[in-house]
């Protein structure tokens, strides 16, 4: 159930030194429309998903993504390749989405101090005072990601759990785990500290695991 691979997909790794990305950049800078169309096709879903973290509805997310692509076209000649192309595009999106979110009165706070929802309170309840498990996790039969991903209801549970996350956790888990962006670049894109990023990611994963656990117990 891996995402569809393409030549472009290979070029869009986090490794910004790859020769495939250099080649892609050359094509984009030369105004190769086909390359640009492929780039849009490859990243559109990811950008929409990330934009949705910052703005209140799907329509606004689409506008932010369109705006981002305009920014990409405008900025390409000046892009120095200090980050990967994908990271650079994500950063443009986040800046625009934040501006749009603020305009719509939706501020996403990335300070972990302001983002206390999530894993911690759940973990509190699971341990006794001496730090041992008071309510141990139930055992899962699932061994491989496919054991989860091939079951439609579990995929739905995961999606819903992600949608319910506080925005900062959702943005971090989207970038780190779903898009495979490395930690330093995530900090860069979202302008957050490494500690903050780590805490938000752990809380997000904890919540998704928890949602699956609750569902499996019911089933």
């Amino acid at each position: 159930m891996a995402r569809q691979a393409s030549v472009l997909g290979t070029a869009l790794s986090s490794d910004h030194n790859s020769s495939a990305e250099a080649l892609l950049l050359d094509r984009l800078r030369a105004g190769d429309e086909l390359a640009f169309a492929e780039l849009v096709k490859q990243l559109q879903g990811s950008l929409l998903r990330l934009a949705r973290t910052f703005v209140s509805d799907a329509g606004a997310a689409e506008e932010v993504v369109q705006d981002t692509w305009m920014g990409v076209v405008k900025g390409l000649p000046a892009f120095e390749g200090r980050s990967s192309l994908k990271t650079w595009i994500f950063r443009i999106l986040v800046n625009r989405a934040r501006t749009r979110g603020a305009r719509d009165g939706r501020m996403v706070n990335f300070s972990m101090l302001e983002d206390r929802e999530g894993g911690e309170s759940f973990l509190e309840a699971r341990f006794s005072k001496d730090g041992r498990w008071a309510h141990p996790p139930s055992m899962w039969e699932e061994q491989d990601p496919e054991d989860i991903l091939l079951r439609r209801e579990l995929v739905t549970v995961m999606r819903e759990a992600i949608a319910m996350l506080p925005p900062a956790q959702r943005a971090v888990v989207t970038l780190r785990d779903m898009e495979g962006v490395d930690p330093t670049e995530v900090c860069n894109i979202l302008a957050i500290s490494e500690t903050n990023q780590r805490v938000l990611l752990h809380r997000a994963r904890t919540q998704v695991r928890r949602a699956l656990e609750v569902h499996m117990k019911k089933a």
């Binding site: 159930m1 891996a2 995402r3 879903g45 990811s46 929409l48 998903r49 949705r52 509805d57 799907a58 997310a61 973990l123 699971r126 341990f127 001496d130 730090g131 041992r132 498990w133 141990p136 996790p137 055992m139 899962w140 699932e142 061994q143 491989d144 990601p145 989860i148 991903l149 995929v155 995961m158 999606r159 819903e160 992600i162 949608a163 959702r170 888990v173 989207t174 785990d177 779903m178 495979g180 930690p183 780590r198 990611l201 752990h202 994963r205 904890t206 998704v208 695991r209 699956l212 656990e213």
Partner: protein, 64 residues
Amino acid sequence: MLKCRDVAEQASEYIDRELSWRGNLAVRLHLLMCRVCREYVRQLALVTRALRHLPADDVTSNHP
């Protein structure tokens, strides 16, 4: 000696290999002895890997 709670808190860093050499060793030692933590960390790692391949169709649609 790490408590189960410490391991649960550091589980993501352990999975991502972001702990120091010493921190990593401490978690490994605990996991050797604690079946419950082993299962918890295994589940969190499984979820992390599943997230990587969650079909892109799409978390955005859950909140219309």
